[in-house]
Symmetry: C2
Subunit: 232 residues, 2 copies
């Protein structure tokens, strides 16, 4: 077993045993190195992996944001991993879109009416009506979909959905260039968003799921994904 894996094991044990909790701080790199009788290099490699997994965040200096702190951001971490695998051509974009439809439909069908996430989603829609450019529109769109997914109350589904969105975020940006009329598309997307949210708030989960599926598939189909899985 390689040295940095030993460090990883040790840290994972600290987490499992509850000696290290969310928001907690890891010992300094030098301290850990001495405690585990390994070099600081090995400790750093382990920390880097945890950082890539979204389990910790490293901050320099001193004070509240300093040191290596335990966080919980599986979404961005999974997203990076998927993005890399898309780059290797091993994961087709079409499969990602399909999975996204699966997860988001499920979430829309089971969204709990009355949770704060749905209020946030409504506010995001208002902001989208006044988005100055495409990029800010897409950013708000991403947050809307994530909020909707979170309303179902399953953190794993939320994280995976967010990661899928993140993995193809670059594509979304490129693809809007393919659209014949962004103004028309934007209007349509916004109307679909409101219809989805209305269906959810009316406890009509089945309809919400259908609308979400059509919404996502419609966008990527219009932008040309599916027929051409590797647009680059």
């Amino acid at each position: 077993m390689r040295t940095h894996e030993l460090v990883l094991q040790w840290i994972e044990k600290q987490l499992s045993d509850g000696d290290l909790a969310l928001g907690g701080r890891l010992p300094g790199e030098r301290a850990m190195a001495e405690q585990l009788q390994v070099s600081r290099t090995s400790v750093r490699e382990a920390v880097r992996i945890l950082e890539a997994m979204g389990v910790v965040r490293a901050g320099v200096g001193s004070g509240k944001d300093a040191g290596t702190v335990v966080i919980a951001e599986p979404g961005s971490a999974l997203g990076s991993t998927l993005r890399l695998h898309v780059a290797t051509r091993h994961l087709p974009v079409a499969d990602i879109v399909e999975t996204r439809v699966l997860l988001e439909s499920w979430a829309a069908e089971r969204a709990h009416v009355g949770v704060p996430e749905l209020v946030e989603a409504a506010e995001l829609l208002d902001q989208m009506d006044e988005a100055p450019d495409i990029d800010s529109f897409l950013a708000l769109d991403a947050r809307f979909h994530v909020a909707l997914a979170q309303a179902a109350g399953n953190s794993v589904v939320s994280a995976m959905m967010a990661s899928l969105r993140g993995a193809i975020e670059n594509y979304a940006g490129e693809l809007t260039g393919n659209l014949p009329d962004w103004g028309a598309t934007s209007t349509r997307l916004r109307a679909e968003h409101r219809a989805i949210l209305t269906a959810v708030n009316n406890n009509d989960g089945g309809k919400a799921a259908e609308l979400v599926a059509a919404h996502i598939q419609g966008f990527y189909k219009e932008a040309g994904v599916g027929a051409n899985p590797s647009p680059k």
Copy 2:
């Protein structure tokens, strides 16, 4: 931007541009360090991250298995990430089980009859009838479920399903200790497996999905997950 992130970017670009393909070999760490004008340490940190993501595999020595080569194993990588987040108590085991039910039901419903994965699944069931102990039974069980998921032909769903299974693998091992009568449970599980496979091969996707959902939920319920999300 930190130095190792620069290296990551460079490697990701090589992958996106197709200059580096699956099975290809990265330049040596020393060569990359010189080419990018960074230290070997930074290169190594980047490679470590890619290794943790299941994008590359590092091998010492010389010959075919030596050097850092591009692979595609998103499943194990995502599994490790999820496992760590479970350790932080951020992802409840119940949510993972629920997501697994979602993905596997979907896959069972859409499995393509006639694909080699289903043949392999059948062989695995035969082997399970003669599994000498619980651990080998669980290992075969894992492979059976993965094969079933792969039969649906969506690589993202397959990878995620495998990762979910891996994230709670340790739990499965612990939980079998809670079962009152392993022999009876094993017999029931094997019967359910065969029923699922039969439904799939009969093109009865709906029934297969139902059976899979009941199969998974039944096992974890019997073992005591759901009522007690953090058994440790």
